[in-house]
């Protein structure tokens, strides 16, 4: 109230009026408090507790935004968990079906298990493209990008001529096979008492000769490590029946295949792949051994080698992403000697998402408390998922001919590889491992959420203590003030009538 000039004679009256006005203002303020439930309209009016009010309001805002983050991510994690559960189940189902499956290729060259695999492959693609509100879960940081191409493109390439899995597998098969005379890129040779096997060059394709031995005192074996490696057997004296010549082939996928040829006197010269006939002289035996070695290699080149090639090519395909394109066979496959990185122009890049995050899990992170950050990101090209997709795709693309004697062996080799590949191996990530990590993040979030609930209720209590009135107390104050004012009004009225003027007649 501004300073008004003093009228000494009217001081008592004006002062009384002023006191009444002041009390009236207090009454009005109490009434406002009762109506709004708030002690004050400004921070100034809260007194020293305004610090608490400001701090608690900031705390509440912070806790609420943490809670909203948690809600968002809990929803996301739940969906991811469902997707990952399904992916894990696909892997387990495929693995167990390899124990039971029958080799029964139909007219389209596919076995029952392959048809099943094809469905599961499509399902897996759907799972990887899971999204909510335009946010993809398996794209790492590129949540706006659909992480995985459609199944048809991945398997068979597209109209622009980009190669899919099928093309890369067939190229790799051809590159690993080479030409029929030296199937598996190993040249068979030797003369006289020698039988030799020589890799046809220093390149990543075909069989790699990694060990050779013999149980016979009459047969020496020598391995030149190379590359290119070669193996030489020399028969100085005929072996005794049952003695073996052994060698080890390392497949493109790193698996090893042992080949053992048993010396036998009962076999015909055109021996089956399991052994060789002991001839009259070491030279004749060597001729038999050369033929047997050729047969054994041819058989491997028609069974385990294509299985390994397919797996290697599929692994390479699914390892590809925009910044790390898949490695492909360079040049005409049969004579290829090197791998070359594919390009986005000639190869389907199945995974379009982010491939540069330091950690797939932390490509999406949620700060759920002041010092707690959880990673809830995932990438479709993580090893566990990639491995599942590669194994599935091999089964989906392959065809088998019932008329081909070696195809059942090839099918078996593939099944074996899938079984091993999808089993639990220490140090190798599986889909289930991703799921466990995400679940742990979910647990952390849940715990943070519990903390936030407790904190929020504390903050609300404090805020209410500081800012809100106690209605009973205010009402009581209001009542007592009202009584006082009534008394004051009455007294003022009486006093104002008490004037000598009225009593002088």
């Amino acid at each position: 109230m501004p300073i008004s000039p003093l009228a000494p004679g009217a001081f008592k009256a004006t002062n009384a009026a002023r006191l009444l006005t002041d009390t009236r203002l207090t009454l009005d303020d109490l009434q406002r408090q009762l109506a709004t439930g708030k002690k004050s309209e400004t921070f100034g009016g809260l007194g020293a507790q305004r610090i608490t009010s400001l701090a608690m309001r900031a705390k509440r805002s912070e806790v609420q935004s943490f809670q909203s983050t948690i809600t968002t991510f809990q929803f996301r994690v739940k969906q991811m968990d469902l997707g990952l559960t399904q992916l894990g189940k696909i892997g387990d189902d495929m693995r167990s079906s390899t124990y039971l499956t029958q080799y029964n290729p139909g007219s389209n060259g596919k076995t029952t298990m392959q048809t099943y695999a094809s469905d599961r492959f499509n399902e897996a693609i759907d799972m990887l493209n899971l999204q909510s509100n335009g946010t993809y879960f398996f794209s790492g940081r590129s949540t706006d990008v659909r992480p995985v191409q459609d199944a048809q493109t991945i398997l068979n390439g597209d109209v622009a001529g980009r190669a899919g899995v099928a093309q890369m597998v067939s190229e790799r098969k051809a590159a690993d096979f080479g030409v029929a005379a030296s199937a598996g890129r190993v040249v068979r040779g030797g003369a006289g008492t020698n039988a030799t096997l020589t890799e046809d060059g220093a390149h990543p394709f075909g069989f790699k000769l990694t060990a050779a031995s013999s149980t016979s005192g009459g047969i020496t074996s020598a391995l030149t490590a190379g590359p290119p490696a070669d193996i030489a057997f020399n028969i100085t004296a005929n072996p005794v029946e049952g003695e073996q010549v052994r060698l080890e082939l390392t497949m493109p996928d790193g698996t090893k295949q042992a080949v053992a040829l048993t010396a036998s006197s009962s076999l015909s010269p055109a021996a089956t792949a399991g052994g060789f006939q002991i001839g009259a002289t070491p030279a004749i035996t060597a001729t038999n051994l050369r033929a047997a070695l050729g047969l054994a290699l041819d058989r491997e080149a028609a069974t385990s080698l294509p299985a390994a090639s397919a797996k290697t090519a599929a692994n390479a395909f699914f390892a590809g992403s925009n910044s790390i394109p898949p490695m492909r066979v360079s040049g005409p496959p049969a004579t290829a000697t090197a791998l070359v990185a594919g390009t986005a122009a000639n190869t389907v890049i199945w995974y379009q998402g982010d491939d540069q995050a330091a950690s797939a899990r932390f490509s999406q992170q949620a700060r759920v408390d002041t010092a707690v950050t959880v990673g809830v990101g995932a990438q479709a090209n993580e090893e566990g998922i990639r491995r599942l997709m590669a194994n599935l795709s091999v089964f989906v693309t392959e065809t088998f001919n019932p008329a081909n004697a070696n195809d059942q062996g090839r099918f078996q080799a593939m099944s074996d590889r899938l079984r091993v590949d999808l089993s639990q191996v220490t140090g190798v990530q599986r889909v289930q491992d991703i799921q466990v990590e995400i679940a742990m993040s979910a647990t952390t979030m849940k715990m943070a959420d519990e903390r936030h609930k407790t904190k929020l209720s504390f903050v609300e209590t404090v805020l209410s203590d500081v800012e809100d009135i106690n209605p009973e107390e205010t009402a009581a104050k209001l009542l007592s003030l009202q009584t006082k004012m009534q008394a004051a009004y009455q007294t003022t009225a009486i006093i104002s009538r008490l004037n000598l003027t009225d009593y002088l007649r």
Partner: protein, 632 residues
């Protein structure tokens, strides 16, 4: 002594009672007139020779307690001061809004940070991005609004000073007028009591405007001094005050003693003799009263409030937009920091823009020290005033023309023995060179210039004063860029045009930031809520030597808290001062106030006295009649 004597005495009684009637009626009619003090008729016996011959009205006396009157003047000045202060403080408090009210400063800051938190969870979500943009704009406009309201209040203060000066001059001339008429009349009469009242009420008005001390001169005139000793009225000829009011006041309109730089009006005192005037505000001659309060509001309280929100605006702009390219380094037994001075976009040039700072904290055997390099393009003041630096820092003014080597030389020259600053390419290395000394910290504040390509920092808030220019804190302009920033701050127009830049900070092909990358939103949030910053001591928050160190959000709360505390304190003081004033007024009124009851009882007495006197006249007449009948 005879009948005639009695007659005369009665007649004088009648005259006196009539005069008393007049005084009483004046008292009653002026019972609630401002500045009217109760009069009483002085009556003495009329002495003729040795005898009393009736009564004589000698004059009209004002009922006045001079001591209380003096006290009243002092307390009026004090109350006027606290009243003005409380009024402004209450307005300021209201500007910052009710707790939890939408659009209030703390709510704006809270919603902005929580929208950033939401964005970190959904960086690619367009709704989340739009939400950040809208809350950022809301925050900027809250600051804009606060700034313009504070400046409007300063304009009010300016206008109030102008009207206060008018009233001051008016009151002085009323005093002079009363004095002149008093001297002409020469003697004390009813009219002179009226003139004295008039003069007192003019002085009382003066006292509300300025704290004054009144000295009565022998000739009945008064001399009026301010408490600071300035004689504003001397009894002969009136001096006057002038005020060159400015109609538009901005954050840059400040009071300085240099008339060329002064952005607000000042009060000049022009003595009656015409001698040299004096700048009242520069000399601090008004210490209390309404005008002093308005001046204090205009030049201190409101400027401080503006500085607080400017600091907040500057902290918002630079905490989100400034890079800190410092990395700890260990060289053998010594340790320190490497600072990359190169601009990210143009590596051959210096990353420091005009106004950017580089802070080096060291510990020496004699205690810790802090060095602050402030870059300039030339025009900045030399030396840079300490108020522009962080509390307690040794400021190194560095001209950007010196390039990398110039910066190294400037820092090497300033560091004490036991430390070295060396340059390799564009990397400045500051390390200790002997045991017992240590480099304890290095903080760079280098503004980014665009939206992408310079790391996750983001020029989210810019200075819209001259277009869409980055805030660097430059001191090169006429006014430091920070001053008034709260009124000009806005969301970067380029960001408004492309909100994806809230997330995407790198557009180099091959390493384009994915849309779902939360790096930038997390950095922004962290800079607001976790990173500690120093705030200038000029805001009145924290102590002058160390400034105030806190996060941006804490500072925002501290500002609201400070204004609330100021308001509460100002209102408490005002309430106390008002109580004091009331009690002095009550005491003053006891003596000088007209009481109708008193006047009424006086009236009864006067009526009785009149009747008695008339009765005496009647009796004298009867006696005369009787005497005359005897003669007939």
């Amino acid at each position: 002594m005879g009948l005639m004597g009695a007659m005369n005495a009665s007649l004088s009684g009648l005259r006196v009672t009539q005069a008393q009637m007049e005084v009483v009626s004046n008292n009653i009619s002026n019972s609630s007139t401002v500045g009217y003090s109760r009069r009483q008729l002085d009556i003495r016996q009329r002495v003729t020779g040795e005898n009393t011959s009736g009564a004589l009205a000698t004059g009209i006396q004002r009922q006045l307690d001079v001591l209380v009157q003096k006290q009243l003047r002092v307390e009026t000045a004090g109350a006027a001061f606290t009243d003005v202060r409380a009024r402004y403080a209450r307005q300021l408090d209201q500007l910052f809004g009710a707790p939890g009210q939408a659009g209030s400063l703390d709510t704006s800051v809270n919603t902005f940070t929580s929208s950033l938190q939401t964005l970190t969870a959904n960086p690619s979500d367009f709704t989340a991005r739009a939400q950040v943009m809208s809350t950022a704009q809301q925050l900027a406009s809250t600051l804009n609004g606060l700034s313009s309201d504070i400046q409007r209040m300063r304009e009010d203060a300016e206008a109030n000073i102008a009207s206060g000066i008018d009233r001051l001059n008016n009151a002085i001339s009323r005093v002079a007028d009363a004095d002149r008429r008093l001297t002409v009349n020469g003697q004390v009469s009813a009219s002179s009591a009226a003139l004295l009242d008039d003069r007192d009420s003019a002085i009382q008005e003066l006292a509300a405007l300025v704290d004054v001390r009144v000295v009565n001169q022998d000739n009945g005139k008064v001399s009026i001094f301010t408490n600071s000793g300035l004689q504003i009225y001397s009894g002969d000829g009136a001096s006057s005050f002038t005020f060159d009011q400015r109609s538009v006041i901005t954050a840059n309109s400040l009071f300085t003693t240099n008339p060329a730089d002064r952005g607000v009006g000042t009060i000049r005192f022009n003595p009656s003799g015409g001698g040299a005037g004096v700048d009242v505000i520069a000399s601090g001659l008004f210490r209390s009263g309404e005008i002093a309060a308005e001046v204090a509001m205009r030049d201190k309280t409101l400027v401080e409030a503006q500085t607080q929100i400017d600091d907040l605006a500057a902290a918002l702009a630079s905490s989100l937009g400034d890079r800190n390219p410092t990395t700890p380094v260990t060289v053998g037994a010594n340790a320190g920091y490497d600072i990359d001075l190169a601009d990210v976009l143009v590596p051959a040039t210096l990353a420091m823009k005009a106004g950017n700072t580089l802070m080096i904290d060291i510990n020496t055997p004699t205690g810790p020290r802090r060095f602050q390099v402030i870059a300039t393009d030339g025009p900045a003041p030399n030396p840079i005033p300490a108020s522009e630096g962080e509390g307690g820092a040794t400021i190194i003014r560095y001209d950007r023309a010196g390039g990398f080597a110039g910066l190294q030389a400037a820092l090497a020259g300033a560091l004490p023995a036991g430390f070295s600053a060396t340059l390799t390419g564009s990397t400045l290395r500051v390390v200790n060179t002997s045991a017992g000394n240590a480099v304890t910290g290095a903080r760079a504040s280098f503004s980014t210039s665009g939206l992408t390509g310079e790391g996750p920092e983001l020029q989210m808030f810019v200075d819209l004063g001259g277009g869409n220019i980055p805030y660097t804190g430059s001191l090169d302009t006429l006014n430091p860029q920070r001053r008034g920033l709260a009124g000009r701050i806005g969301v970067n127009a380029n960001l408004v045009a492309d909100t994806s830049r809230l997330v995407v900070y790198n557009t180099t092909p091959g390493s384009v930031t994915p849309q779902g990358d939360s790096t930038r939103p997390r950095l922004l949030l962290d800079r607001l809520t976790n990173a500690q910053r120093s705030f200038s001591a000029g805001s009145g928050i924290g102590d002058a030597s160390n400034g105030f160190r806190s996060t941006v959000t804490q500072f925002a709360r501290r500002v609201v808290e400070d204004q609330g505390a100021n308001a509460a304190q100002a209102m408490n003081v005002d309430e106390g001062q008002k109580l004091v004033l009331r009690s002095v007024e009550a005491r003053f009124s006891e003596t000088s106030g007209v009481s109708i009851d008193q006047e009424m009882s006086d009236l009864v007495q006067i009526q009785n006295a009149y009747a008695a006197n008339a009765r005496v006249v009647g009796a004298v007449k009867e006696l005369f009649d009787m005497l005359l009948r005897i003669g007939a």
